[in-house]
């Protein structure tokens, strides 16, 4: 395009590119292709992406997110929900709730999307070794924590007892039901699921996810807990975990804020002194505990 400027084409064909964004600027996406797509619930889809160019993506880890760009619509932060041991493909689970997420959910295989990332902190997989691990997820909050479950299944001997408690609004809103059944079949994992409002076909537990916590088997003196879901769920789940004897500094939470850049430059995601995009999204509970007590922070 001749616009009177010195327009440079920054498409990155360089196989030395190590991040999923254009090497000329972390604010400019790299281009990925939708390999496949699957429906999770009535409003939630998973998409599998691979890099258009045969270039390496930097290692991504459980808990991190990418900024996904839908052409002409915008960009939103979406957690990586796939298996991080497969560094070839990136899986994202997206709930269709806004303009950009709608566009992303409507992508077809072969469509291209922009990807910047991976950004943010990770679940503390190393610090969990040798401990009982309690995983609490709510709603779409199972997606950012699913890579942890994959990781544990692949490195089962590194961890002690593992308990997963997942709450959803209704049975039809549960993510990954088949996979949950599969995790359940592992004798060395406790998997408990609950819904707020049941349908007649539902033969499982009814009640909020916090009510599952006292029924999980763990040794509170040697347990780490990971919590992901809306902030209000995190607040009550943490309260219940602590009242069940888990040490507050053994609890990690994944926070959500408005994010525009993913690299701490646009200011939107501030929570006290933290930039949730780069100091988070995964925080040790004790680092953010004080912020939970301040309204409209």
């Amino acid at each position: 395009m001749q616009l009177g400027y010195n327009w440079l084409i920054y498409m990155d064909n360089d196989s030395n590119s190590i991040m999923a964004f254009n090497r000329h600027s972390p604010l400019i996406p790299g281009i990925f292709e939708v390999k496949s797509k699957s429906k999770e619930t009535h409003d939630t889809w998973s998409i599998v992406l691979n890099n258009k160019e045969p270039c390496r993506v930097e290692t991504f880890n459980p808990g991190q997110f990418n900024m996904l760009y839908a052409y002409g619509t915008g960009e939103i932060p979406i957690s990586i929900s796939g298996d991080c041991s497969n560094q070839k493909y990136i899986v994202h689970t997206i709930r269709d709730v806004g303009k950009v997420s709608h566009a992303l959910c409507n992508l077809k295989s072969g469509d291209q999307v922009g990807v910047r990332g991976p950004f943010g902190t990770t679940w503390p997989m190393d610090q969990l070794k040798g401990k009982d691990v309690v995983i609490i997820g709510g709603g779409i909050g199972l997606a950012p924590i699913r890579p942890v479950i994959f990781h544990i299944l692949e490195n089962r001997d590194d961890y002690n007892r593992v308990a997963i408690a997942y709450g959803a609004r209704a049975p039809e809103e549960m993510l990954y039901p088949t996979q949950i059944m599969d995790w359940r079949s592992h004798l060395d994992m406790q998997v408990r699921v609950t819904v707020d409002s049941a349908s007649p076909k539902w033969h499982g537990q009814v009640g909020v996810v916090t009510t599952l916590i006292p029924r999980l088997n763990f040794n509170p003196d040697n347990t780490a807990a990971l919590v992901c879901g809306p902030e209000i769920m995190i607040r009550f789940a943490v309260k219940e975990l602590i009242s069940n004897g888990i040490n507050p500094d053994e609890i990690w939470v994944s926070m959500e804020r408005n994010m525009k850049c993913g690299i701490g430059l646009s200011g939107h995601c501030q929570m006290g002194s933290m930039f949730v995009c780069k100091d988070g999204p995964v925080f040790n509970y004790m680092d953010v505990e004080r912020y939970f007590r301040i309204k409209e922070l």
Partner: protein, 377 residues
């Protein structure tokens, strides 16, 4: 480096010299009743004999009998608009079939800023930390910043709204300038004391025939600076301020200031350190699209929007975020204050909210604070 004497008519030689070195020269000029930092062609464009009056919610220029070039204090605009433009295209994109092709431009203009004040240079250094000092570098800022030439000018005057000394950003020019000027107009003599601080600055000065200084020039320069310092009446007590702000998110003063605050975002738009931005995807009818980054403000209602609603819906929470960020959390994030005491946010606040006054009130423990205790004038 060495201090020299430059005659007033050599100021234009300096500007032309900078221009010949391929810089676009940006300097102060009178525009629409205010001082603006705009491209200038010669010293004639400078606001000679014009001073500014700034008070909470008030700004006015006055033409006086003076041949002083830099008699005003600070413009409503800051140099930020060149280094970190209010609207910036991050990339353009085209679609071909299912594919996307991105293009981005590089910025090939070198800026020279004439008349950067101490507080403004401090602000640039604060933004350097944000955009260049972290894990991720903003390359759009970097290419502008690295090529910029800074000609700082010491203040001769102050406004009622200035408080640079109490936040440690002035009135002496901090390091980081390429050339530093002090304009002296006293005892019927008018000249500049000039020094370079970088090679780039020295190369420019080498083209002008400067005179050596005499001993009393240093005294005159120091005396002028001390007069400026003595005029700075407005203060912020920064000691202990951080913990006072962080510990009292429910201080009654927040409610009081929220009653006056219009959440208009003027303070953040004139602030030389505020860096928040939003991005917009703009499509044309040919199906092409571009992404623009635009300045944003933590005072806007949807600044904190996540699915389900905004996190900060009250004006109180937004004002608290802004002021607490500037004076407390900024220290955790960037190891400095986020305020340089330029006073722009006081001048350009329609109801005239004065942050120094708010900070004084917020420093009183909540249980000892009486409503309206520190009143605005």
């Amino acid at each position: 480096m060495e201090l020299n004497v430059m005659q007033p008519d050599q100021l234009d030689d300096l500007i032309q010299g900078i221009s010949l070195a391929d810089y676009q020269v940006i300097g102060p000029m009178e525009s629409n009743g205010a001082i603006a930092y705009e491209p200038i062609e010669s010293a004639d464009d400078l606001p000679r004999g014009i001073i500014d009056h700034q008070r909470p919610g008030k700004y006015a220029l006055q033409k006086i009998q003076s041949s002083r070039f830099f008699g005003y204090t600070v413009s409503p605009f800051s140099w930020k608009k060149y280094l970190y433009p209010p609207v910036q295209t991050l990339f353009k994109a085209e679609r071909n079939g299912q594919g996307i092709q991105l293009e981005t431009d590089s910025h090939d203009v070198k800026y020279a800023f004439i008349g950067v004040r101490a507080c403004e240079l401090s602000a640039i250094k604060i933004q350097d930390k944000i955009f260049l000092g972290g894990d991720y570098v903003d390359l759009h800022y970097k290419e502008r910043r690295e090529n910029a030439l800074i000609v700082a000018v010491e203040c001769f005057n102050t406004c009622e709204t200035c408080f640079c000394d109490s936040v440690g950003s002035g009135p002496e020019i901090p390091n980081g300038a390429d050339i530093v000027l002090t304009e002296i107009l006293e005892s019927g003599e008018h000249y500049f004391l000039v020094r370079s601080e970088t090679e780039a600055g020295q190369e420019i000065l080498n083209q002008i025939s400067l005179k050596d200084t005499e001993n009393n020039h240093y005294l005159i320069k120091d005396a002028q600076l001390e007069r400026v310092r003595a005029k700075l009446k407005r203060k912020v007590q920064t000691t202990g301020l951080k913990s006072k702000l962080l510990k009292n998110p429910d201080h009654p003063r927040w409610d009081e200031v929220a009653e006056r605050c219009l959440a208009c975002s003027n303070c953040t738009m004139v602030c030389p350190t505020c860096f928040c931005a939003d991005v917009f995807d703009i499509n044309d009818l040919d199906g092409n699209t571009k992404r623009e980054r635009r300045w944003d403000s933590c005072f806007t209602s949807d600044f904190t929007y996540i699915h389900g609603g905004n996190i900060r819906h009250s004006v109180k929470s937004r004002y608290r975020q802004w002021l607490t960020h500037k004076f407390a959390s900024w220290q955790d994030q960037f190891d400095s204050l986020g305020c340089v005491g330029c006073g722009r946010c006081i001048t350009w606040c329609p109801p005239g909210i004065d942050i120094t006054e708010e900070l004084k009130a917020l420093s009183i423990p909540p249980n000892q604070y009486k409503k309206g205790e520190i009143n605005h004038v």
